[in-house]
């Protein structure tokens, strides 16, 4: 037994085995307890902790803003730029790390920044462990430069710690109101609103980076950075010079007619588009009223402060939205007689018309028991007209008869081909949908067909009209209109070239030539004589459309033309929506506005004069030149063309206005002085036989080396 007992002692006894099982039970109990604890944590605090995790995610990690890409005009002039700004951050933890840091740091802050030092001192004292205090926001480089230079001196700034900068960007529009409808603006979150800013928002906005802050084992805040990728820039088809010419003329038109027949603007809307006929590039697109892109919520240009204060929020934003909307693409209206070339082209192209027809107009025509009047109903109609004369005289009766000959189906088929009722897909935000405001085969009856032939009864947008019109005069190629020709990276490398896109062929080249012939006749013989700028031949078509409801004597007048007459390069479309005058159906207003714009634009574009200039025209041009000069040399608040002003003051007004963008295009000088016009009708100037420079025949000024530079600066 003793032996057995001794062996038991050396062996693991039954008692020990039992105790081991008890121990296992205790361990098991502990595990069960901990499992329950896990379950309780999830049940009681799960939701709260989930939120907490996401909340602190934002707290300790920070988004690094990407630089939003710039927007340039076609010559590389900036239209919208992102400027770097700095937020001044104070890291209290670092400052309080050593006693010796505190005073030098405070002294440096006081010296180099315009901030409330009492607040900073108080904050640093009260939050010794905090690492993030925004002491100043939106500092420019100039404002931080002094400090940065000081920090470069390592001995002087040895004890200055815990100051750093957070980069940010501010959108700046150097030209203020220029091209506001096209560009659009950005909100505080860097999201584009309207125009290119909205349409190309994804391209312009880069990929934001991220900075993670975390606490290491010694509870120091460590930072790691994933840098931001900057956005791409846009090179638009817009020419800032042409754009500013257009906008200045629209404004001056507005100023002439403002408060004339009623209180308010010179017209409900003014719009103008200039387009390159042969590729769909929009060279200028403007509407009035406009707004300041740097301050888009400012209504003070149009309303008194009292009036603004009296607006309810709803009214306030309604007015703003009205301003921000791009009339040229977002609004629809009845085009009126500018539709006639489309109708005629349709008839000729489809073979329903030969061009040799003639029509008799007695002032009105009866379609489906309705008497539809011609525009000169009062004077007994247009008499007998052939097709060309019908366009020149804008005879509704002739056009109605043509449309009935063409028939509804073919007419609608061509409407579709001209893109009426469809979007043009121009690369701007907010293009109007027009599918509901045009006729289709189920709701077009003879009367609707007849009125459609001269542009009443259905709605279009300006961009639709001019894009379609370009196809009528360029040989039938319908180009998709576009605003951006190139997307470039921040370093200037081309990311994407946007090539002209022909969508379809609307008419044949020979029909196109016929339409050009007819439209040239409108300006030489017909309703559009007033649109011709001195020294040039252009073609086009006038339009006068009565708005709804009919009989209110409210009209939209327009001129749609092109230049030069024989080989169209640019197309222009000017729309005056309900001019502020007692008589609104005065198409001459649109014609003269067109003429004013073309008078400045064509020389700038290097399109030569081909026609002799009469004495009267010379005087007008001289007067106009003075007017333009005054516009350029006027005080800053007057204009958007700020960059060149300083240089203008040197020359006399007369000299100052004689050149334009000469450096960019030696032939494109804005030459308006030709008192003793030389024999050479092709160029309009004398040519220096030695240098080839253009010399003003009157003043002897060298046109190519003018000291005046326009908006190109």
């Amino acid at each position: 037994m003793a032996n057995r007992s001794e062996r038991e002692e050396r062996r693991f006894t039954i008692r020990m085995q039992k105790k081991l099982v008890v121990l296992f039970g205790i361990v098991l109990l502990a595990f069960v307890g901990l499992s329950l604890r896990l379950i309780y944590i999830n049940r009681d605090n799960g939701e709260q902790y989930k939120k907490q995790v996401l909340e602190q995610q934002e707290y300790t990690s920070k988004t690094l803003v990407a630089r939003r890409g710039d927007i340039f005009d076609s010559n590389g002039n900036p239209l919208a730029v992102s400027e770097k700004i700095y937020n001044l951050i104070i890291d209290s933890k670092v400052i309080n790390d050593k006693e010796a840091y505190y005073e030098p740091t405070m002294a440096a802050l006081d010296k180099y920044f315009d901030i409330d030092m009492n607040a900073v001192r108080k904050w640093v004292k009260e939050n010794p462990k905090s690492a993030y205090y925004v002491a100043a926001k939106g500092l420019t480089y100039n404002e931080v430069e002094g400090y940065l230079n000081f920090m470069n001196d390592e001995t002087a700034s040895k004890n200055v710690k815990g100051i750093w900068f957070e980069d940010n960007y501010k959108r700046n529009y150097p030209n203020g109101t220029l091209a506001c409808d096209i560009i659009g603006f950005t909100n505080a979150e860097n999201n584009g609103t309207y125009g290119l800013e909205e349409y190309y928002d994804d391209v312009l906005n880069g990929t934001p980076g991220r900075e993670y802050g975390y606490l290491d084992e010694d509870e120091n805040l460590e930072r790691t950075t994933k840098p931001a990728v900057d956005g791409y820039s846009l090179v638009t088809t817009i020419d800032a010079t042409i754009q500013s010419i257009v906008e200045r003329n629209l404004k001056s038109f507005n100023d002439t007619y403002a408060n004339r027949a009623r209180e308010g603007l010179g017209a409900n809307n003014l719009g103008c588009i200039i387009m390159d006929v042969n590729n769909g590039d929009v060279l200028a697109m403007a509407s009035y009223p406009n707004f300041d892109l740097n301050n888009p919520k400012d209504l003070s240009m149009y309303y008194s402060q009292e009036a603004i204060d009296a607006f309810t929020d709803e009214e306030f934003y309604e007015k703003l939205n009205g301003l921000w909307k791009n009339f040229c693409i977002s609004e629809t209206y009845e085009p009126g007689s500018t539709m006639k070339p489309f109708t005629v082209a349709c008839g000729l192209e489809s073979g329903k018309l030969t061009g040799n027809e003639s029509y008799t107009c007695t002032g009105a025509y009866e379609v489906a028991d309705k008497r539809i009047k011609c525009h000169n109903y009062k004077y007994g109609g247009c008499g007998t007209v052939n097709v060309k004369q019908a366009v020149e005289q804008s005879c509704n009766v002739a056009l109605m008869q043509m449309s009935l000959t063409i028939g509804k189906d073919i007419f609608l088929q061509y409407q579709q081909s001209y893109n009426f009722g469809l979007k043009t897909n121009i690369d701007l935000a907010g293009e109007a949908r027009t599918n509901a405001v045009v006729y289709n085969s189920s709701n077009m009856r003879p009367a609707e067909l007849a009125t459609s032939s001269f542009g009443q009864g259905f709605n279009v947008s300006m961009i639709q009209m001019i894009t379609g019109f370009c196809s009528l005069i360029n040989g039938g190629y319908y180009y998709e209109p576009h605003m951006v020709k190139k997307i470039v990276s921040g370093s200037g490398a081309t990311i994407q070239n946007i090539e002209p896109r022909v969508l379809r062929k609307t008419i044949s080249t020979s029909t196109s030539n016929t339409i050009i012939d007819y439209c040239n006749g409108v300006v030489t013989e017909g309703t559009g004589k007033a649109a011709r700028p001195a020294g040039y031949r252009i073609g086009g078509k006038t339009g006068t459309a009565e708005t709804l409801p009919r009989g209110n004597n409210e009209y939209v007048v327009s001129f749609m033309g092109y230049a030069p007459a024989d080989n169209p390069k640019i197309a222009i479309y000017v729309v005056i929506d309900r001019v502020n005058d007692w008589v609104q159906d005065n198409v001459k207003l649109a014609c003269t506005l067109t003429r004013d714009i073309l008078t400045e634009t064509l020389p700038y574009m290097g399109i030569y004069m081909t026609e002799p200039i009469s004495e009267k025209e010379q005087q007008e041009l001289a007067a106009k030149q003075l007017e333009i000069t005054l516009a350029y040399t006027a005080p800053p608040e007057e204009t958007t063309e700020t960059p060149a002003e300083g240089e203008n003051t040197e020359g006399t007004p007369a000299e100052g206005a004689t050149g334009d963008a000469a450096a960019a295009d030696p032939n494109g000088g804005l030459n308006l002085q030709w008192k003793n016009f030389p024999v050479d009708p092709a160029t309009g100037y004398l040519k220096d036989p030695e240098s080839g420079d253009l010399i003003d025949p009157d003043t002897g000024q060298n046109m190519s080396r003018s000291d005046f530079t326009a908006v190109d600066g």
């Binding site: 062996r11 604890r37 379950i39 944590i41 300790t60 606490l215 290491d216 790691t224």
Partner: protein
């Protein structure tokens, strides 16, 4: 037990505990996956190499598995004769840390190799050596263990290590573990219950007293005092001492039942400092949810169960007590680690065996398991 009777075997056939090997390999493999998941972000930030910690732990784990398998073939009685030497050598190693530089603000390591590439914690060696020593010592005590004198002698034997680890290396958690292992081995060896209940009550009372004192005299008691305060109300100390605990709780609470999915933890992105170390269990909870966490706890329960089976079938008391010591070591570390992560006890740095990052720790734990495997091998399979 069941296995030992179930099969008809000759006396010469021995038992190899494949289940235990499987459990260990599973835990180590799972540990490597979780280690990679929890550390890759910070590793790529810090060292530009997402697998920085994974590689190091992988090398140690492979080494550990090799050591485990080798030890499983070395008869464990071979070690018994070194028990006294091991006791004194491990004791002597502890002050050696004073000759090596601090790391993370504490002197706990002995560095060897070029550029201090390998670090060794004497505390880890002490745990293994003390298990070995106590198993042999208690066996030699024989029936004397039943007396009060025997009881206190055993405790006295563990005191030098405990005290040195606490006072020299300032490592409370290792001191607790060593005392805990001693208590567990003593509990199994001694027939007493009453004394242990009194002891446990005493420890709890002392703990309560410490907490009471700390709350009264608040932060005059150094970082341990601060940790106790943070334990009581982690949210009040969210920016400093309570930070780690609170972030761990956020991780656990935000995981839900099924977790965010492997690799989907947010808290590992710098919020939980050194997530691959002591707080790795909170990342397991966040990514794999309650399901994954409890599954891992079950694996540890299985591991403990296998050790219970081996101890109860061991051929002699030395082997059985050694296995009990290892069992105590594993169980105490797992329980304390999970208790710390769930803020059940105040924060003290205890790693999760086989899963947390820590080269020397995993090597010694695997060595312990290797010896246990050999104890299992010596189990004679009796005829049915």
């Amino acid at each position: 037990m069941a296995e030992s009777f179930s099969r008809r075997k000759k006396k010469t056939e021995y038992y190899f505990d494949y289940s235990l090997v499987f459990i260990i390999i599973f835990l180590v493999g799972f540990g490597l996956i979780m280690l990679y998941s929890s550390s890759s972000y910070m590793a790529s930030q810090k060292y530009n190499d997402a697998a920085y910690w994974l590689k190091r732990q992988g090398i140690w784990s492979a080494l550990g598995i090799g050591v485990m398998l080798v030890l499983s073939f070395i008869p464990y009685h071979f070690w018994e004769r070194f028990s006294t030497i091991a006791y004194f050598v491990s004791m002597a190693l502890i002050p050696c840390v004073l000759f090596f530089p601090k790391r993370n603000g504490a002197r706990r390591w002995i560095f060897i190799g070029p550029n201090d590439r390998f670090s060794l914690q004497p505390a880890e060696i002490a745990k293994l050596c003390l298990i070995l020593f106590l198993a042999s010592f208690i066996t030699r005590l024989g029936p004397a263990i039943r007396s009060r004198k025997g009881f206190w002698t055993v405790i006295l034997m563990a005191l030098p290590h405990t005290a040195m680890i606490y006072f020299i290396t300032d490592n409370l958690s290792s001191a607790i573990i060593i005392m805990g292992i001693t208590a567990v081995m003593l509990f199994v060896a001694s027939p007493e219950y009453k004394r242990f209940i009194i002891l446990a009550a005493g420890v709890l009372a002392a703990g309560a007293l410490v907490v009471l004192i700390v709350t009264r005299f608040s932060d005059k008691l150094g970082f341990r005092g601060a940790r106790i305060l943070a334990w009581l109300d982690p949210e009040a100390y969210a920016s400093d001492t309570g930070f780690q605990t609170l972030q761990g709780l956020y991780a656990i609470g935000s995981g839900g039942i099924w977790g965010k999915g492997l690799g989907q933890s947010i808290q590992k992105l710098g919020y939980i400092p050194e997530a691959q170390n002591d707080m790795i269990f909170s990342i397991i909870c966040e990514e794999l949810g309650l399901f994954g966490a409890i599954a891992i706890l079950l694996m540890f329960v299985l591991l403990v169960w296998r050790l219970v089976v081996i101890a109860n079938n061991a051929t002699d008391m030395f082997g059985a007590l050694f296995v009990v010591g290892v069992l105590g070591h594993v169980a105490i570390q797992v329980i304390l680690n999970v208790a710390v992560v769930t803020n059940t006890v105040p924060n003290t740095g205890i790693s999760l065996p086989f899963i947390s990052y820590g080269g020397s720790a995993i090597l010694f734990q695997m060595a312990e398991i290797g010896v246990c495997l050999n104890v299992a091998r010596s189990i004679e399979l009796k005829d049915a």
